[in-house]
Amino acid sequence: MSARVCPDCARRAWLLERLAGHLEPVRERIAELLELDDRALVAAVGGEHRSAIEDELERQEVSELEDRAERAGVEIVCRCDSAYPVALRDLPSPPSVLHVTGSLERLTALLEEPSVAIVGSRRPSSYGLETTRRIAGELARAGLTVVSGMALGTDAAAHTGVLDALGATVAVLPGGADVAYPARHRRLLARIRERGVAVSELGPGVMPRRWMFPARNRIIAALADLTVLVQGRERSGALLTAEWAARLGRGTGAVPGQVAGPLSAAPHRLLREGATLIASAQDVLDAVYGVGAVLVPRRRTARLEPSLTALLEAIADGEEGQAAFARAGLVGESGMAALARLELDGLVRRGPGGRYLAR
């Protein structure tokens, strides 16, 4: 396990954790605060403990940080190292130390491909979930890297879509890189780490605090070439990510929703402000590579019988039930058996309401 951290960055990483509680009441201004240097930051939020904190800061050793990471199985890299993701240097306040689980090497490889952040509401509708999942899966198949925050709802759907398409994905976590937040996503985190990575600004074992979420969002925006917002209410946190993307000169995109739906407020605002309209993975590819340069790959269905291929295509086109069966020349009994075969082959899965969806 490699540890490449210089003393200054190690001290900064320590300071951030030491001040975690102090930053909580001033989280409205977290972006500016993170841009301050160590002394100014302590002066701004240290309060009565200022001098004590400064003394402690002087005594911090790199070895301590390294030991801790080693014990937790987390790789660390500081912003002065060549292995540090270049994209993060565009931030006014790049994380001093990046903590990585999965592997640093893998992170580097994943970031060599164009990357897309998919973010959105923690309580999306099933339309939002399905759209996220589908687009994320298709992007993974096209070889792009999908970045998100592993939050409930949209974020998790983005990761799941990639994993189901056997792709690798980057999760940027608010707390420690080894801490599944929300805890419900422990299994999801394990799946992400099998092929992809989880990264974080904070050290192993740190439980998320509220200021860490907007801070995390800036990392997501910086890592991605394009940030796509799926659903969100008027004051959605996902808008912060999109704002960061715009500030960093990265692309923004939004998936339109129902005209009057409350979950359409955030994406429609972005669209009004000039974000790219994203209705499919192809729209993302067009935005990243130029129109028509790269196409969404077709599924491998060569070895299927003609009737199964026809049924799969009907389902991919959004047909269901008898209409889909009719296109494949099947009836109830044979049609249902055919669906079971496609499901066993992993070509379709059951969505909301038991509806069959093409993977």
Partner: protein, 506 residues
């Protein structure tokens, strides 16, 4: 002087013999009834007094004591009136005491001396035959029902006076003629009315053929209830014993007017029902909907809206085919051999999977799933999604009629009976893991597909058994000895989805 009359109390849904003793002694005029009766029994004193006088008999001005034996059995209802009145007439020498031997009496009295309709005549008649009585006096309205029991002379009377004169030796009035029952096939809902719904119809047929409990999932108004109502029409007809049991239960519950019930019951209780209402209970214990659905179909619409205690209470009935209820020192059992059909919306708003109409969040879906999970789902072998038929289907012809499907179901059931002999299961839906291992053989390809589904995580261990049971029924419908690959695949497509499937993110 002492007289004794035989009658029967309804204990749950079963008859229990009760001896009515009437004793008349010298003393201040009084009429007391002892023997653990309820208010209706206590009030029968006043009904009997008026009925006796209005029937132009003498009411003895002496000390009358009536006893309902055994004294330990709690007795409820007005069905003892007629017996007590006849006992009183015999005890006061207005009727030959010997005439009451071997004769059971059942019925409520009006003040004018008429015998009133009261529920449970069939159960009483069964009890009378079992107790070795030769004659049974019942209210005229209940004569046909009581006459369903063979080997018993039914004396159908409309007044107390008539009853007394028959006992005194007059010829019994002829039984009322059977009313012409409407041909059940015409009025009952039929599969021929169904348009579209190809897959749900298939699931209904499999459920009927194998006795599998069925869960239907679909948006509001797609036809779940309509389909469930048609299930009784494709089940095999009731045997005579089953028909009598159904009639007796419905008669005791006061739901049934006359004649033998020939069609399988269909019960659809509202989701606000209590545990006691569903499984039986209260004091004195009454049969619940599970018992009223005995030999028929219990339909639970909006399954997720039912209270947890009510659904929990269905566990024993589903497992054992009967429910036992303990009150005080006694335990009663009600038969509950029904098929369960449940229906539910796919999500709280009901529109999951219908274009983008669903407005539920992931958390709502999770909560909905959780409400549905639990022991009851283990008993539901089949899950079918019911969708709105397309316009063209609604205008098209129907697929099948109940008679056609009923025939296939009957043949499949016969195959099962032959195969399952000695396993304790009556149909594939009752098979436990052992019976399934011994009698549900899969061919090589089917075995491989099942193993694949299991290792891919599409099935739990219990889900695997359910799929095998259903596949066995599908093979029975096709007339094959072994479960083939198409049978197994079809069963897989009708399996219950795991909690995480269809609920957004796993």
């Amino acid at each position: 002087m002492l007289a004794q009359v035989t009658t029967f109390a309804i204990d749950g849904v079963d008859p229990r013999q009760v001896w009515l003793e009437v004793d008349i002694r010298a003393g201040l005029p009084a009429f007391t009834i002892v023997g653990l009766g309820d208010t209706a029994v206590r009030e029968s004193r006043d009904r009997i007094r008026s009925a006796v006088l209005n029937s132009r008999f003498r009411f003895p001005d002496r000390r009358i004591t009536a006893n309902l034996a055994p004294a330990s059995l709690r007795k409820a209802g007005p069905g003892f009136d007629a017996g007590l009145a006849l006992g009183l007439l015999a005890a006061s020498d207005q009727l030959p005491a010997a005439s009451l031997e071997g004769c059971a009496v059942f019925g409520e009295l009006s003040l004018g001396g008429e015998l009133r309709d009261s529920p449970g005549a069939l159960a009483v008649a069964e009890g009378a035959r079992r107790a070795g009585c030769t004659r049974l006096i019942v209210p005229r309205q209940r004569a046909r029902e009581a006459a369903l029991v063979e080997g018993l002379e039914i004396i159908a009377v409309s007044t107390l006076r008539e009853a007394a004169s028959v006992l005194a030796g007059a010829p019994a009035p002829p039984l009322p003629r059977a009313e012409v029952e409407p041909a059940p096939a015409e009025s009952a809902p039929d599969l021929a009315d169904v348009r579209g719904h190809e897959v749900p119809l298939l699931a209904l047929q499999i459920a009927a053929a194998g006795g599998h409990n069925l869960l239907m999932e679909g948006a509001p108004g797609t036809g779940k209830t309509m389909l469930a109502r048609r299930l009784p029409s494709i089940l095999p007809p009731l045997s005579r014993e089953e028909a009598i049991e159904v009639t007796r239960i419905h008669s005791v519950a006061g739901l049934h007017a006359r004649g033998l019930i020939q069609t399988r019951p269909f019960r659809a209780p509202h989701h606000s029902i209590s545990a006691a209402g569903l499984a039986g209970g209260a004091s004195p214990p009454r049969p619940g909907e599970a018992t009223l659905a005995n030999h028929g179909v219990l339909f639970l619409d909006e399954l997720s809206e039912f209270g947890r205690p009510a659904l929990e209470a269905l566990r024993q009935p589903l497992e054992d085919g009967e429910v036992s209820i303990v009150r005080g020192q006694r335990s009663l059992s009600f038969p509950t051999r029904f098929m369960l059909v449940a229906a539910t919306n796919p999500c709280p708003c009901g529109f999951a999977g219908v274009e983008d109409r669903c407005t539920c969040g992931e958390a709502d879906l999770r909560r909905h799933r959780r409400r549905l999970s639990g022991p009851l789902l283990d008993r539901l072998d089949l899950l079918v999604d019911v969708r709105r038929p397309a316009d063209a289907e609604l205008r098209g012809p129907s697929h099948v009629s109940s008679a056609q499907v009923g025939e296939r179901v009957a043949v499949a059931r016969e195959r099962q009976r032959a195969r399952l002999q000695g396993t304790g299961a009556g149909c594939n839906g009752d098979m436990d893991a052992r019976a399934a291992r011994h009698t549900a053989a899969l061919d090589g390809e089917a075995e491989a597909e099942l193993a694949r589904a299991y290792t891919e995580g599409l099935l739990s261990a219990r889900g695997r058994l359910r799929v095998v049971r259903v596949a066995r029924t599908i093979a029975d419908l096709a007339g094959s000895e072994r479960i083939g690959r198409p049978d197994l695949l079809l069963a897989l497509s009708l399996r219950q989805r795991l909690a995480q499937e269809g609920a957004g993110v796993g």
